[in-house]
């Protein structure tokens, strides 16, 4: 009997339970549905924030090690020594093929266009911002890969078994640049003028246009030097006769940006070196910055300062001092009289030059040097960094230690400190192995070198000085040296040069040099050297010594060098305890860099070409 009762009871439950529509149809508690998102401005903004956050950078403060791939810095970190030991760059290096990201942006744009619950003005700004991000991503692709398929709408597969209609060939390289330029012209009216530095503005759109057009112009112009770096379909390479048109576009965009009046050079500090450093550190009163990836938004920070703070000043007992700017870079900062010279370590007869103070050897140089690099004997966060390699006797004997700040017996029998608390000591990582520390981006606020807090220094993607240099280069290529000098001198005057350059002094080497020192460690060197077709000539794989012509754009620079300061041990002589300097090659650096023609455009993966046979390979690989 019980059995029947249970059976009937179960049937009743089964047949009645499903009737309760309200019980089963519930709104999810853990995700937001699309309609819910698209009726609320704040929610749309957080979707957009995700798209902003995914913007790729090759070298950035979140990936310090990528800075060590070329000749700007030595990586004082055992896990990164290989960057100075491999000869060839891989064909796939700095490659990119991120159509998942592009699809997300396309979907965002399509949904925003039909979102009728939003305020029309806000909506058009959202669409313009997404289009800006999309153009940035295509720019990132084109400078790495050459022409890529231009997919400007979301693609859907119809499950018919034949996906060939989704296969698109690569666009020509110039078509991608044309798209970026045209898109920026179209959307700039929908963007605000200033007001934010972490979202797209008119200024950011014009800055992207200025940079993209300049790249396209120089590829058209200097691409003639490397006729092999091209494809018959134009996916790689831009016809030479298009150069002037792109330079003109770039100059116009730069001048339009200057005309906005929203941006200007940062000139808040009287000391030019301090001023240069603060361009990157000051986030409040800084109208030089056009677009940046900001930190300390919702507590987000990064560990750049932990990794790169001078060893003796570090706040955590972990790492530090990983980036040691190279002597190659240091010596390319020119003298205040606008001339170039290597650091004077020896006189004409080959005898060492004696200096009373460590900083004297750097005297009279571009103030941006001390703003970019922590020099031996200079101060950081109010403390002096202690960089010296040992005592040196007149006979050439070196008394040193393999411990930071180590002590040893001097010839007179007394025991004293024989090496700086910051190095340099051969093969000792996380200290000034190359003789210098990086200053740019290294946070001066206390606590930024701790793991728990981290640094909130932002990553600047576009700043006003670059726009001036873009304009200067474009004007120079168009034959207008007066204008080129005018724009470049604005940057140089701010840097602290008392004498302007005359229009006749502007040449290709000057353009290359000015970008090298003003924009060092700002993710420019690779792209600049690629578009000028300098990369395979400057990083040509030959083991040559440090150049004596720091102003020569073609000087080979395949290995990073350093500078060792020694204290002279010569009691009784006037030179006792004075400083001498020696150029040297850090021990872990043993192979030169070689940039092959096949590195100009990165390798497109076999998986990509298997999925889409219309994709042609990049040349010389």
């Amino acid at each position: 009997m019980k059995k029947y009762i249970y059976s009937i009871f179960t049937c009743v439950i089964l047949f009645t339970a499903c009737n309760d529509e309200d019980f089963l149809n519930r709104d999810p508690q853990n995700i937001l549905l699309e309609d819910q998102v698209w009726e609320n401005e704040d929610l749309v903004l957080s979707v957009l924030a995700d798209l902003y956050n995914r913007l790729p950078d090759y070298q950035t403060i979140e990936r310090w090690w990528e800075f060590a791939n070329f000749d700007e810095t030595f990586a004082s970190n055992a896990g990164d020594y290989w960057r100075h030991q491999n000869v060839d760059y891989g064909y796939g290096d700095w490659g990119m093929w991120d159509y998942g990201y592009i699809r997300d942006i396309n979907l965002f744009i399509e949904k925003a266009e039909v979102a009728d619950q939003l305020d029309p003005e806000v909506r058009s700004q959202f669409i313009a911002e997404a289009k800006f991000i999309r153009a940035m991503v295509y720019f990132e692709h084109v400078k790495r890969m050459g022409g890529v398929p231009l997919i400007l709408e979301s693609l859907e597969y119809d499950y018919s078994g034949d996906p060939t209609y989704l296969q698109y060939p690569r666009a020509q390289e110039h078509e991608v640049y044309d798209y970026i330029i045209q898109e920026m012209e179209d959307i700039k009216g929908d963007l605000p003028n200033g007001g934010t530095r972490s979202r797209a503005t008119i200024g950011a759109a014009l800055a992207l246009e200025s940079r993209a057009a300049l790249y396209a112009g120089s590829i058209a112009n200097y691409g003639q030097l490397t006729p092999n770096v091209s494809l018959p379909g134009g996916e790689v390479g831009i016809p030479a006769d298009m150069a002037d048109q792109y330079y003109t576009t770039s100059l116009r965009a730069s001048e339009e940006l200057m005309g906005l009046g929203t941006y200007g050079l940062y000139q808040n500090d009287p000391d030019p070196s301090e001023n240069y450093t603060n361009i990157f550190l000051n986030k409040s009163a800084n109208n030089e910055v056009i677009l940046a990836k900001d930190f300390l938004v919702q507590g987000r920070t990064h560990g750049f300062t932990i990794e790169n703070i001078p060893r003796s000043l570090r706040e955590e007992n972990t790492v530090g001092g990983k980036m040691n700017p190279s002597l190659n870079l240091v010596q390319s900062f020119e003298l205040l009289d606008n001339t170039f010279a290597p650091l004077p370590t020896e006189d004409a007869d080959g005898n060492p030059i004696y200096y009373d103070d460590q900083l004297d050897i750097f005297a009279g140089r571009d103030p941006r040097l001390a703003g970019t690099v922590i020099l031996p004997g200079s101060t950081f966060r109010g403390s002096e960094v202690d960089i010296w390699a040992g005592w040196k006797t007149p006979e050439g004997n070196v008394i040193t230690s393999d411990q930071l700040g180590g002590r040893a017996e001097l010839p007179n029998g007394s025991t004293d400190q024989v090496v700086g608390y910051d190095g340099p000591i051969d093969n000792l990582e996380w200290s000034a192995q190359g003789g210098f520390y990086l200053r740019k981006y290294v946070d001066t606020s206390v606590g930024s070198g701790q793991r728990g807090t981290g640094s909130a220094v932002w990553w600047i993607r576009f700043r006003y000085a670059e726009i001036l240099l873009n304009a200067s280069e474009a004007a120079f290529e168009l034959g207008d040296n007066t204008k080129a000098a005018e724009y470049m001198n604005q940057v140089r005057r701010r840097a602290g040069f008392p004498t302007d350059l005359a229009p006749s002094e502007i040449d290709f080497d000057r353009i290359v040099h000015e970008r090298k020192v003003e924009l060092s460690f700002e993710n420019h060197i690779l792209w600049d050297y690629k578009r000028w077709r300098l990369a395979h000539r400057v990083w040509n794989g030959e083991s040559v010594d440090l150049t004596n012509e720091p102003g020569d754009a073609l000087a080979v620079s395949t290995r990073v060098f350093g500078l060792k300061p020694f204290k002279v041990y010569d009691p009784g002589s006037p030179n006792h305890e004075k400083w001498i300097f020696e150029e040297f090659k850090p021990t872990p650096v043993f192979n030169p860099h070689r940039f092959r023609l096949g590195n100009y455009y990165s390798f497109i993966g076999d998986n990509v070409r298997n999925a889409n046979p219309l994709i042609v390979r990049n040349p010389n690989q």
Partner: protein
Amino acid sequence: MKNSIKYIAGLFCLTMGLTSCEYDNYDEPKLLFEGNLVYQGEPIGVSYNDVYFELWEEGWQTFGNIGVAVDQDGSFSSLLFAGDYKLIIPANQGPFMNIPNAETSSDTIPLDLRGSLNMDIEVLPYYMLRNVDISGSGSSVSASFALEQIITDSNARNINEAILYLSKTAFVDGRTSISSSSIGGGDIADMSNIQLSTNVPDMTPTQNYVFARVGVRIDGVEDMLFSPIERVDF
């Protein structure tokens, strides 16, 4: 008795474990494909790890190639499975042009690999180095050589420079050179008699020999043409 059955069973499992890989693993590739890149039977010297060709095999779900690097003396070798391969020297590889294959009338060379194969690949170099003579002492090394232009039609290219490289090891080119001297293409007066010499620097640790060879950079060609490597004892 019960225990020993356990042991025997255990031993049996262990034996199976150690030997059964024979059954479920493929044999490694065993066919040796080797040869030289040659012009009229003469090998063409190149720099290490720079020149390569690709072997493609059709019939797989996805496409990928086997890259075969060409050694400094122009030789190559690769261990392969039997199969129908297509051999392609990619454009812009090496200081030479490809000779279209008679069978496919393209740059593709069909390769029906059933057993080990020794095959030289004929290519058309822009130039050939002739009569290379390298000699030297502890202070300097000199080379005399001639250049013969092979491609003289519309594809002809000028010489950018000729360089004598010295190296401590048997890898000799710009990457490893410890001393070099060069002559620009425009400065070569007589292609049948070119002289170069360079000093031997101090070497640590000291060694009483160097390796030397001559390289030629051709305008618009990335890979250089090299002479055979000579060991110079002193």
